[in-house]
């Protein structure tokens, strides 16, 4: 994968506090273009708050956020709007509009920002549905008729509607069965490669970290404690990171990932 040293998201000195309790205190983070960044951390370390702050849903007490060249905190509305057209967000349970069909959900941002003929809108929606691996018939269904995994895929299709440069995923594999989760990981990886996406992924899923993340940022003690490729984090001395990457579940995930790698290379050789 070609990794340009271009920064897509730059967070500096971020301070977030709720009722006087600081969730973030001087948090710095860079996300490079074209990488998949996994954000991990214990409950209450503000992973989702960080995501919401970057996309402008949460006003921080201090700090600066640069998203694709737009200043998301001090900048004007036009700049923020411009940035929002170039990002896509997948919320935890998809956050699909429940009264619209999947295809209509995908068309919402397209209709909002561009004036396109109806048949083209339908074709684009159908293409997105195919892209995220849903059957064509899913386009005519409303979200409550879909399973959890299908809703996540539909949510991803809507997040991709405007062909964004950066995609934010909030716990994309939470609530999916292991097979569904692995399939979703593969889907994110394939789309990321095909569309050249930058992916910012909040996750608890160790399998996802092993399978698709280029770099991992660990949130603890109100800042980004460590950031880097997975192997470089394994030796980090901080007790939480040690516990996280060397606990029983982490070992299981690592074994699976190694086995998958071995199987992959074996398949290539044969």
């Amino acid at each position: 994968m070609s990794m340009t040293k271009d920064v897509a998201i730059r967070v500096r000195g971020l301070v977030n506090a709720f009722d006087g309790f600081k969730v973030h205190d001087g948090l710095d983070l860079d996300v490079m273009r074209g990488e998949v960044l996994g954000v991990v951390g214990g409950s209450g370390t503000g992973k989702s708050v960080l995501l919401r702050t970057i996309i402008g849903l949460n006003q921080p007490q201090a700090g600066s956020i640069d998203l694709l060249g737009s200043d998301m905190i001090g900048g004007d509305d036009a700049a923020r709007r411009n940035a929002r057209q170039r990002i896509g967000v997948l919320f935890q349970d998809g956050a699909l509009f429940s009264s619209l069909t999947v295809a209509q959900n995908i068309q919402v941002p397209l209709k909002e920002f561009y004036k396109l003929p109806d048949d083209l809108l339908q074709e684009i929606a159908a293409a997105k549905i195919r892209m995220v691996g849903l059957p064509d018939s899913a386009g005519g269904k409303i979200p409550s008729e879909l399973s959890g995994g299908m809703r996540k895929r539909a949510g991803l299709a809507r997040a991709l509607a405007l062909d964004p440069e950066v995609v934010f995923l909030d716990e994309p594999t939470a609530g999916l069965d292991p097979i569904g989760a692995a399939a979703f990981d593969t889907l994110v990886r394939d789309l990321q490669k095909a569309l050249g996406l930058t992916v910012f992924m909040v996750t608890h899923d160790l399998d996802s970290l092993y399978a698709i993340c280029d770099r991992i940022a660990v949130l603890a003690e109100k800042k980004v404690l460590a950031v880097g490729p997975l192997p470089s984090l394994l030796g980090h001395p901080h007790p939480w990171i040690q516990e996280y990457f060397h606990g029983p579940r982490a070992r299981a995930a690592a074994t699976t990932a190694e086995a998958a790698d071995a199987a992959g290379s074996a398949a290539k050789e044969s």
Binding site: A125, A126, A127, P135, L160, A194, L195
Partner: protein, 369 residues
């Protein structure tokens, strides 16, 4: 996009950006493209700078259109564009289209039929629910210790005490309005003093209880549905069941009982406030002193006028509480149904209260009170 004819075929040169902002213009361009009659058509894609899904959809459309006339082959298509193009080929937007609808008359009749079936089914379910509540009430009466006293008192406070201001204000104002309107009409006959009869009979027999019941249906019936409904969304009701408890006994009975106790009290309060409002207006508009008003009141109404109102109160209360709880228990596991059923609960309970009121009127006139 430019088209050139060459020996033995034609060449279509794609250039620039094929992305969303250009999509509408490109779609028109493809529409207007006049087809070459050559057997071979080369599409030169080397000059294509940027391509997104919309662009790929359009390319796919282009190939689909030209492919019928000519033998299309790609030249210099970049691999990343090829990937995108592969995603969009063979998509079927028709699968997402809603099924074709019947004509208006057929739809109207089938809708009517469904409504009738829905209504009957709903009525049967609700009657079954009433049966279960009564059963639970009898069981509780046999073993009074099983009554959830704390919960009952809590709901009495919520539905009764906290409703006093709004019920009092509305009844007072209705008393004022009745006296004022009555005064206007009765003055023409010099029968001002009958304002007392008008206010007393209408407030005690009908308006006091009816308005209170409607306010309570809007206030507490909806609250019951929303409370039980959100518990249903959270699977709390299922948890109650798996713990070996009966949701009817734990959730429904305290609410029904609380409302059956508080609605008569609220009605009594509403009656007093309505009479006070009438007395005040009679004094202001007609110079009927409060002393005269209450002396006249004594002659105008019997105890039965008051009792007719009060007898209805617990019945209306039971209807409101049971509709509220019933709709609450029908909530499914999505938040949207909480809102829909809350609305339905209010509409249904007000409807049932008014139907019951009409039945009471017939009953009381038949027995002559």
């Amino acid at each position: 996009m430019s088209l050139q004819r060459e020996a033995g075929g034609a060449q279509l040169r794609l250039t620039g950006t094929w992305t969303l902002p250009e999509a509408a213009r490109l779609a028109r361009g493809i529409e207007a493209l006049s087809l070459p009659k050559g057997e071979r058509l080369g599409i030169e894609a080397g000059g294509l700078e940027r391509l997104d899904t919309a662009g790929a959809v359009l390319l796919n459309r282009l190939v689909g259109k030209l492919g019928k006339q000519a033998d299309v082959h790609w030249q210099n298509l970049k691999p990343e564009h090829q990937v995108l193009l592969d995603y969009v080929t063979n998509c079927n937007p028709a699968a997402a289209a809603p099924p074709p609808s019947d004509n208006g008359l057929v739809r109207f009749i089938s809708h009517l039929g469904w409504l009738a079936i829905f209504f009957l089914r709903e009525a049967r379910r609700f009657i079954a629910f009433i049966g279960r509540v009564v059963e639970a009430a009898v069981m509780t009466m046999l073993r009074p210790r099983r009554l959830r006293l704390t919960s009952t008192l809590f709901h009495m406070e919520q539905t009764g005490l906290n409703a006093l201001p709004i019920v009092g204000l509305i009844s007072f104002l209705i008393g004022v309005v009745m006296a004022y309107q009555g005064a206007d009409q009765l003055q023409q006959f010099g029968a001002e003093v009958f304002v007392v009869n008008l206010v007393a009979v209408s407030v005690l027999r009908e308006l006091g209880i009816l308005l209170t019941a409607i306010v309570v249906a809007g206030r507490s019936g909806s609250a019951f549905t929303a409370q039980i409904g959100s518990m249903k969304v959270n699977e709390e009701v299922d948890a109650i069941r798996t713990l070996g408890l009966d949701p009817i006994e734990v959730l429904v009975l305290p609410r029904v009982l609380a409302l059956m106790l508080t609605l008569p009290l609220l009605t009594f309060f509403a009656d007093i406030m309505g009479l006070l409002g009438g007395a005040l207006m009679a004094w202001v508009a007609l110079d009927i002193t409060p002393f005269l008003f209450f002396e006249r009141l004594h002659e105008a109404v019997t105890i039965w006028s008051f009792l007719v109102g009060m007898i209805k109160a617990p019945v209306f209360a039971a209807l409101i509480a049971m509709v509220g709880c019933y709709e609450g228990l029908r909530v499914k596991r999505d938040a949207e149904s909480v809102g829909r059923l809350t609305t339905r609960s209010v509409v249904q309970s007000i409807f049932l209260v008014i139907v019951a009121d009409a039945l009471f009127s017939i009953f009381f006139s038949a027995i002559g009170v």
